[in-house]
């Protein structure tokens, strides 16, 4: 596989974020492990919750499955050693989720690893640190910090950024690291070109 090493990119990369072209098979209704749509599932060996500070800690084989919003997108899975969830004091949305130790994030053909991942509801950012590496079918991104801006669908990397793109992806319209979102099926009749 031929690769080209791009010169050091600007410290802040803003890349188009789109889901990989992979279709998820919806869970069979009534299946034991079926995840209700729109529900995030966290499984672990051990759980501790303290209602005084509203902190829940998961340890041992921690795995998160985040189903996609659209059925033609793959789910996101996260595995780590320890996961800390900070719940709001007066109900409402989660304040933060922190994954520690051998963090692995997968979505379709995209694969990210790092020592720590932090999600903060205030910014809606996921920050991957501790030698973060993002690998997709189009290439590899490294940096001191890799940030996923969920609200705006952007990916950023800061500090000692290094990106490798596969040569065959360079020059394409969808040459972002993650690639273009596959076109959604439509019932519209294609327009014939005029002679």
């Amino acid at each position: 596989m031929k690769r080209i090493l791009l010169p050091l990119l600007p410290f802040l990369l803003v890349l188009r974020l789109a889901a990989a072209a992979e279709s998820a098979t919806p869970a069979a209704p009534g299946a034991t492990n079926a995840i209700p749509r729109r529900n995030l599932l966290i499984t672990a060996d051990f759980f501790e919750y303290n209602s005084s500070n509203k902190v829940a800690i998961y340890t041992g084989n921690v795995r998160v499955v985040d189903p996609p919003m659209h059925t033609n997108e793959p789910p996101t899975t996260i595995t780590c050693k320890i996961m800390t969830v900070k719940l709001p004091l007066e109900g409402g949305k989660i304040e933060s989720i922190t994954a520690d130790g051998d963090v692995v994030i997968d979505q379709g053909s995209s694969h990210a690893t790092g020592a720590k991942a932090v999600y903060k509801a205030v910014t809606d950012f996921v920050e991957l640190s501790g030698d973060p590496v993002l690998v997709t079918t189009n290439g590899t991104l490294r940096g001191d910090l890799v940030i996923l801006d969920r609200r705006n669908g952007k990916l950023k990397a800061t500090g000692r950024v290094r990106m490798e793109l596969r040569q065959d992806t360079v020059g394409k319209n969808d040459a972002g690291l993650i690639g273009a979102k596959p076109p959604r099926p439509t019932n519209a009749v294609p327009v014939k070109p005029q002679p």
Binding site: P26, P29, G30, I35, P36, R37, R38, N39, L40, L41, I42, T43, A44, D45, F46, F47, E48, Y49, N50, S51, S52, A56, Y58, M69, H70, L87, E90, G91, G92, K93, I94, I97, Y119, A121, D124, R150
Partner: protein, 167 residues
């Protein structure tokens, strides 16, 4: 000096002798139906008293050795200081210790947040009333509704859901 030491010793012996009967006053005899143990937030001057913190209930409770109670049909509801319900814990059975107010079991537990955004289930648990903490020791499964994670705008219409075929 010796007299005061002797008097002190007698006092200790008397207290030790009295202690078991005092504790025995709270011992349950036989099966108790509609078992309830409320716990309240500390009273604040000028604020309404009896603000319920947790309410542990059981369909029945049976005394066991070691000051434990076997509670069937456990339900623990937690309340915010402002009054509304926060979460509900359900378990078929547990051992409850009156002195520490701890409930534990090797069996199944389910916990739901009252707003429906979180649910947790697992096997084997320890619930401590003192700080309303919960430990689940095996096979933990948590469901978090997406609108609790901030990415989903509940104002947006929900995409159509596939209808499960009826058997």
């Amino acid at each position: 000096m010796n007299m005061s030491l002797a008097a002190g010793g007698l006092l200790v012996v008397a207290l030790l002798w009295l202690a078991p009967p005092l504790a025995a006053q709270f011992t349950l005899v036989g099966k108790v139906k509609d078992f309830k143990v409320p716990d309240y937030y500390p009273a604040i001057p000028g604020v309404a008293t009896n603000r319920l913190k947790t309410l542990l209930t059981g369909s029945n409770a049976q005394p066991q050795l070691g000051g434990l109670l076997l509670v069937n049909g456990l339900r623990i509801e937690s309340f915010r200081e402002t009054g509304p319900s926060e979460s509900v814990i359900l378990a078929p059975q547990c051992l409850f210790e009156m002195a520490s107010r701890n409930a534990s079991s090797t069996g199944r537990l389910e916990m739901f947040s009252s707003d429906g955004r979180f649910s947790i289930a697992g096997d084997g648990f320890l619930w401590r009333a003192a700080n309303a903490s919960l430990i689940i020791s095996n096979r933990v499964r948590t469901f978090i509704r997406k609108d609790a994670v901030g990415e989903f705008d509940s104002a947006k219409p929900e995409p159509p859901q596939p209808v499960a075929p009826k058997p």
